[in-house]
Amino acid sequence: MHVSRRGGRRLSRRAFLGRSLAAGGAAAAPWIIPSSALGLGGAVAPSERIVLGGIGVGNRGRYVLSSMLAEKDVQFVANCDVQRSRREAVKRMVDEHYGTTDCVLYRDMFELLARPDIDAVLIATGDHWHAPASLLAARAGKDVYSEKPCGMTIGEIQALADGIRRLGRVYQAGTQRRSLANFQYAAGLALGGKLGRLHTLHASVYVPRMSFDWLPAEPEPPKEECDWDRWLGPSPWRPYNSRYVSGGWRGHHDFEAGGNFLDWGAHTVDLCQWANGSDATMPVEYEPTPTALVARYANGVKLVCDYLPDAFGNRAPQYRTSTGTCPVRYEGSEGWVETGDNGELVLSDSLQRTLGRAFARPGTSAAGHGRNFFDCVRSRAQPVCNPDVMRRSHIACLAAALAWQLGRPMKLDPAKEEFVGDDEANRMRARVVREPWSLHL
């Protein structure tokens, strides 16, 4: 452990970190004291840095990576992507940041994961690879920061959460809004009783859609350009089309989780779970309506997932456009609060007078969330969006998406994570992972 220079010895990072520490689940007992470990502000010796690799880092991934590169105690050394153009874009970004040419590129993630020097990986592939890649990384002894949605199905989420715990790794789901000031403040109001008794939570989502169509077949490019079979990975085979690999996978059932319900839902439903203090459970009823998916907790609190026809434009009347994207609103007997990515907090009149507070527009930066992950990599404590938290909010989202897909109300047993009296829905909780891939390691 790293102790203050004034007092005692310094145990090197490798001595305590070891890349194969087993970390259990449960409450956050720190392994070391993170804040004193770093000598923040000063340079951190290379041997003391957390060595990071990237898998599938595209547009979204580069945004997250940019804030991770800024951390002085992290060194990004290698990137893996099945597409050459994306691999190389990350190398350019990383080399420019460090002023070197040292970033190594791989097409095959097994080669990256086999490197003993890498401590942790940033996984930013498309949805369908998130869970299998996270488990492969964990099996290889790496800690994982994975973009959301963390898995495609309820079964995948269960296997992921159980596997991470069994393998003793630190895992952070990329639902970074839990680390942003305005969302933290809003949740604090709800949890602290300032809104009175909560009755309705609003989580914004896209209008769900889901396609089973195949795009027209195009000739597969050479593997070095784009390894189509590896891009598909755990998803069942279909003919190549260049649109899939340039973001056009969205909307397709085999590649996007829950009919794009989870694109915002993984964030907004997670935020509502947090504000409601229900991280240990999930809603028990899910009802599709034309304008929203309405879920209910056992204690009667409603979770309304509002469909936004113009999610990036005019979000009225369900939300105030000025609060920004991914808005949420928490309503209680004494007042309500609404906030979104613009950092603006809107409060009911009575609260506005006593509590009105402005935030310098923090945007959607993942900086705080990444920092939390790296601190936990050192301390082996549980990050803010650890597998247990992720499990519940993702299963809630996936259940909601299934209710939308099947077009009927459904009941869920939150302890067993099974639907009650709905065999078809239960059979849709899992999808096959195409051979030779597997979730279970």
Partner: protein, 835 residues
């Protein structure tokens, strides 16, 4: 907030567009038929997927036949894994004999998903084979099956030679142990984990096995833990320590504590940290002792735990002692955090006693800070003497703490302390304490005001101004006003600054006067800044419609001379959500000195400015910014805000240009000709006739064009609104009318009701505006009780209905008057419904 949804039509369109599948049949039999007969790969794949959620045993043979197909195998497995009953597993087992390569791996994986106990023998055989991938897959599936037979098979494989196989078997055993634990088979789970941790496997797996072995034992884990934590292998030690937080128990807490004595300092620190997640009453004395450990790492660990988990007086005592010892800042921070967290009067008393007895000044300061954070009422007695301490650091710390907890009885002494302050730091802290007392008790400001006298020192005057200003104490306003003109510059400046923070606009007139009259440039600058701030605050506080506010801002705009002053004024204007504010703001957009700031002000105007029905001015201003040569970021924000402004409500056409659909009336009177509605005849109109629109409206803007041609009689027509047909005579209607013709165009008449003009335009205006015999534009605007009419773009009527019994709701109709030879035509009719 009202919840209005997008139109049902729009949403239904979206919703049905996302309906599932592509018209695939959903009945299981149909799916099976599609599977068998379809030639399209896509359709067969889709059918397989759907059979997974809907299929029955009947489909198993067809699906199993696809297990060797390189593309369809995964889809077929989806189908098989979903179908209930023993048939899918049986088919998969049968396929093992013939499948090869990846296809074989798929079938093995599916048997694992199904947790088929009958597959164990086959899987063990495959695991013992020569294909490493198949071996790995088979071991994995054995782990998922997790039956006693599977566990035995895995144990047998563990004795196998190759490291890789042993590692895979170990991994599978841990997976099985997890499932066993969930199913309540803890003993079997523990045995499996033990087998792994004592085998030769990589560090990571051994660590996972340690965790599994302990967690499976749960409350009985203590003996094993005590053993493992002494292991020479640090992976094992660390895994054991981390596992503890998953299974906290009394026995484990004791085991942790008992391990402390013999452990090396590093391990001691980790043991202490582990106690954070697993402790009992006997743990705390050990942690308290560790707070004073010679090893810094152990101390930090102990303080971390105590800071979060400390509860007893003894715990508080240990933290207080740590706070007083010389040491690194991190230790003090943790001790302070812990003491601040622990509730209760015993802890208050302990902290205060420590304050009184502290030996060193910096230790006393730290304790005072904790006392301030805790803020018990009893603290004042101990802290007041500290406020007069010779050591400035102690005095300042005490005064800061007293800000939050001094009582009115302490006020006189605090006032004296302010006057006697030897340094700026002490004075500031003392002022803060005085202010705090007055704010919390709601009293005392008068006592401060009594200190005010022209003979007071400049420093004291400034102190009283700051305190009274921050309190917004109204009786002090005359004194502060007079201080704004004080000969002493710092006093005057202080007063002008404080007036700028006044909680209401009372100082406004003084500030505006001071701008003009200021003796020095600095005073003028502060006065203007303060005035802009007060005006801005008033605007934000919702006094947007206050007429004084307009006057103030106009004064400020007129007074601002240079770029700096203009910026100050803009900062105030930018907080005012009103059309007039925008009018005052807009010219600055063209001022090269402050164009950028003005643009930001417009872009950031509070969202309340979007409320009025007419957003034209805001649109124009944002549009001007977006098209300007200002920096890209403000232009981008302007464009973005412009895009997101509430869309003007859409106009509904009332007339399709071809037919009278949506209207009813006498068909021998009303017809469509050349794209217009025509009523009446030049041969003669015996009586009033109305063509009425089916749909009623309440609030709206109605726009249309009319043309009236006539030769004899009372050549007149009109537009009814908020009207209804009368039963007798049936050709008449009752309600408001926008009159047309015979010198009454653009006037408001009350047809068949009060039978008089409710409002008239001036004759001269009508003559000037109207083009007789030609097309004219009419606009009717009804908002609540307010009715406005405009003729050819110019307002002719603007009235408010005072009679509450008059309905504000009804139909629209077109009229041709009786007793004339005339024809009236209408075209381009549209209506914008308003909320």
């Amino acid at each position: 907030m009202t919840t209005r949804f997008p139109t049902a039509a729009a949403l239904t369109a979206l919703f049905t567009a996302t309906a599932l599948g592509t018209g695939n049949p959903r009945a299981p039999r149909d799916l099976l038929a599609a599977l068998n007969s379809s030639t399209s790969l896509h359709e067969r794949a889709r059918a397989c997927q759907q059979l997974g959620s809907l299929g029955t045993a009947e489909a198993v043979p067809a699906l199993a036949a696809l297990l060797s197909d390189p593309v369809l195998a995964a889809y077929a497995r989806q189908g098989l894994e979903g179908i209930p009953g023993p048939e899918p597993a049986a088919a998969l087992r049968a396929a093992l004999a013939t499948l090869k390569g990846d296809r074989l791996l798929g079938a093995i994986d599916s048997l694992g998903s199904l947790r088929d106990p009958k597959a164990v023998a086959d899987l063990e055989r495959i695991a013992g084979g020569t294909d490493p991938a198949a071996t790995r897959s088979a071991l994995r599936s054995l782990g998922r099956i997790g039956s006693p037979a599977a566990a035995d098979a895995l144990k047998r494989v563990m004795t196998s030679a190759t490291d890789a196989t042993r590692a895979d078997a170990a991994s599978a055993m841990l997976l099985a142990a997890d499932a066993m634990r969930r199913e309540g088979r803890a003993g079997e789970a523990a045995a499996l984990c033990d087998a792994v941790r004592t085998a030769g496997v990589p560090d990571g797996l051994r660590a996972a096995a340690v965790r599994g072995a302990l967690v499976a034992r749960g409350p009985a884990a203590a003996p094993l833990f005590a053993d493992l934590v002494k292991s020479a292998d640090r992976h094992v030690r660390h895994a054991a320590l981390l596992a503890v937080r998953e299974i906290p128990s009394d026995a484990l807490a004791d085991a942790l504590r008992e391990s402390l004595a013999a452990a090396a300092p590093d391990l001691r620190a980790h043991l202490v940290l582990a106690m954070s997640g697993c402790r009992n009453d006997r743990t705390m004395p050990a942690i308290r002792a560790a707070v004073a450990d010679p090893d810094a790492g152990v101390r930090l660990a102990a303080l971390t735990v105590l800071a979060r988990a400390g509860a007893s007086a003894e715990d508080a005592g240990a933290l207080a002692a740590a706070l007083q010892r010389d040491g690194p800042a991190e230790e003090h921070a943790l001790a302070a955090e812990g003491l601040g967290r622990m509730p209760g009067p015993e802890v208050d008393a302990l902290v205060l006693k420590a304050v009184a007895g502290a030996a060193a000044a910096d230790a006393r300061v730290r304790l005072i800070q904790v006392a301030g954070a805790r803020a018990p009422a009893s603290a004042a007695g101990v802290l007041m003497p500290c406020a007069a301490d010779a050591d400035e650091r102690v005095a300042v710390a005490a005064l800061r703490a007293l800000k939050g907890l001094a009582a009115s009885a302490d006020l006189p002494a605090l006032i004296e302390r302010t006057k006697a302050a030897g340094s700026a730091a002490v004075r500031a802290a003392a002022e803060g304490a005085v202010h705090g007392v007055c704010l919390r008790t709601g009293a005392g400001a008068d006592a401060v005001l009594r200190e005010w006298s022209p003979a007071a020192t400049a420093a004291d005057k400034a102190s009283w101004i700051r305190i009274l200003g921050a309190l917004g104490h109204a009786p002090a306003l005359p004194a502060i006003r007079s201080a704004a003109a004080d000969a002493d510059e710092p006093v005057a400046v202080c007063a002008l600054e404080q007036l700028g923070r006044w909680p209401d606009p009372a100082p406004m007139t003084d500030l505006l006067a001071a701008i003009d009259a200021s003796a020095t440039p600095k005073r003028r600058a502060i006065a203007l800044a303060s005035a802009a701030s007060v005006a801005g605050a008033a605007a934000e506080a919702g006094r947007s419609a206050d007429p004084d506010l307009s006057a103030w801002f106009r004064r400020l705009v007129a007074a601002a001379r240079d770029a700096g002053e203009k910026r100050l004024v803009l900062s105030g204007l930018g907080r005012w959500a009103s059309a007039e504010g925008l009018r005052l703001l807009s010219p600055y957009l063209a001022d090269p000195e402050v164009a950028a700031e003005a643009a930001w002000a417009v872009v950031n105007l509070p969202s309340a400015i979007e409320a009025p029905a007419d957003l034209g001015a805001l649109r124009d201003a944002l549009g001007a910014v977006a098209k300007s040569k200002l920096p890209a970021d403000v232009r981008g924000k302007a464009s973005s805000r412009l895009r997101n402004l509430p869309k003007p409500p859409a106009a509904l056409p009332l007339f399709d240009g071809r037919s009278l659909a949506g209207w009813e009336g006498a068909t021998n009177v009303w017809r469509v000709r050349d794209g217009a509605i025509v009523g009446g005849s030049l041969a003669g109109n015996p009586r009033n006739e109305f063509l009425a629109a089916d749909r009623p409206f309440t609030n709206f803007v109605l726009r249309l064009e009319y043309r009236l041609e006539g030769t004899e009689g009372f050549v007149n027509g009109g537009v009814q609104f908020r009207s209804e047909r009368i039963a007798q005579p049936p050709n008449e209607m009752r309600g408001y009318q926008a009159d047309i013709g015979a010198g009454h165009s653009g006037c408001l008449y009350d047809e068949s009701r009060r039978n008089r003009f409710l409002a008239r335009a001036a004759d001269g205006q009508i003559r000037r505006l109207e083009r007789p015999g030609d097309w004219n534009r009419l606009e009717l605007r009804c908002e609540g009780s307010r009715i406005r009419i405009a003729l050819n773009g110019e307002p002719t009527v603007d009235v408010v209905e005072g009679d509450a019994s008059i309905p504000a709701h009804g139909r629209i109709a077109l009229q041709i008057h009786g007793n004339c030879k005339a024809e009236i035509s209408f075209r381009n009719l549209s209506i914008v419904p308003l909320p």
